[in-house]
């Protein structure tokens, strides 16, 4: 199976926050933690666009690279997950993430940030699949139930697509071809693009200089 990806079509997102609500309800997310949120660019200006943002489960995830306790792992399906028993809540992943995905509950006794919480692509975590312990720590494991993320499946306008990368890219391609506009996918290259090739030094003009 190909790797799982998210894709948000800014031409279709109507900022209804259905994805945010679906996520909150599905995983019983506490107050103050937002695994998914809707960002509006140029709000109130003609041509404004809204995008649903959460962890994109990057191909080369920066959170994995910076974690000092190496609590992140990538599943067979390409979903980036983490072990909350190991997380020390340092917040490095928050600074590294280009999407602002890592969330830290701040309701503890000392008002400090707790263990990191983020979108799991509805794939739970390193506990027994669909167990009570998994639900409490990571939320519902819809993938183990043969379902896709709640946010994408609940999206009324199908602006948010989630699933196998090739399939959702095909769906989007067909959509762009039919409507004839809006081919840019926000965040896609950042999350799934290849790292920039090293720049070649420019050839000096007018021959070599010492």
């Amino acid at each position: 199976m190909a790797r799982m990806k998210f894709l948000c079509d800014a031409e279709r997102c109507i900022e209804c926050n259905g994805c945010v609500t679906a996520c909150k309800q599905e995983h019983d997310i506490p107050w103050g933690v937002n695994r998914r949120r809707v960002v509006t660019i140029n709000d109130g200006v003609p041509g404004e666009r809204s995008i649903s943002v959460a962890c994109m489960h990057c191909s080369d995830a920066p959170c994995m690279a910076v974690c000092p306790v190496d609590c992140f792992y990538r599943t067979e399906e390409g979903v980036v997950l983490h072990d909350k028993d190991l997380c020390i809540g340092c917040g490095y992943c928050f600074y590294a993430c280009p999407f602002g995905a890592p969330q830290f509950p701040q309701m503890g006794a000392f008002g400090v940030r707790g263990k990191m919480d983020k979108c799991t692509f509805c794939a739970g975590g390193p506990e027994k699949n669909t167990s009570e312990a998994e639900f409490k720590k990571y939320g519902r494991n819809r993938l183990a139930e043969g379902k896709l993320p709640a946010c994408a499946e609940m999206c009324a306008t199908k602006a948010l697509l989630g699933g196998e990368g090739e399939v959702i890219a095909d769906i989007y391609r067909e959509r762009v071809t039919k409507r004839g506009k809006g081919g840019d996918v926000w965040g896609w290259a950042t999350a799934y693009g290849r790292p920039d090739a090293p720049k070649q030094p420019a050839a000096p003009a007018g021959g070599a200089k010492s």
């Binding site: 190496d70 609590c71 983490h82 390193p126 027994k128 183990a144």
Partner: protein, 74 residues
Amino acid sequence: MNRQALTVVAGVALALGLAGCGERPQVVEYKQGVYQGKPDTPPYDAAPFNGNKTEWERSIRTRNQNQNEYKRTS
């Protein structure tokens, strides 16, 4: 009597001392760049799929295609 008590004390001290040798390291040694947490299982391992990967993939594929409204309405 005094000697017997001394032997008992020495025996207890020896037993306690040796027990310390059997102590397991309690500090986690991190290996840079390697996942240190608990292992996870594939999503199709538990019920309702019980290890049937093909069936699980079929379910995911169907749900994937449900997101394509062009196919749903035609």
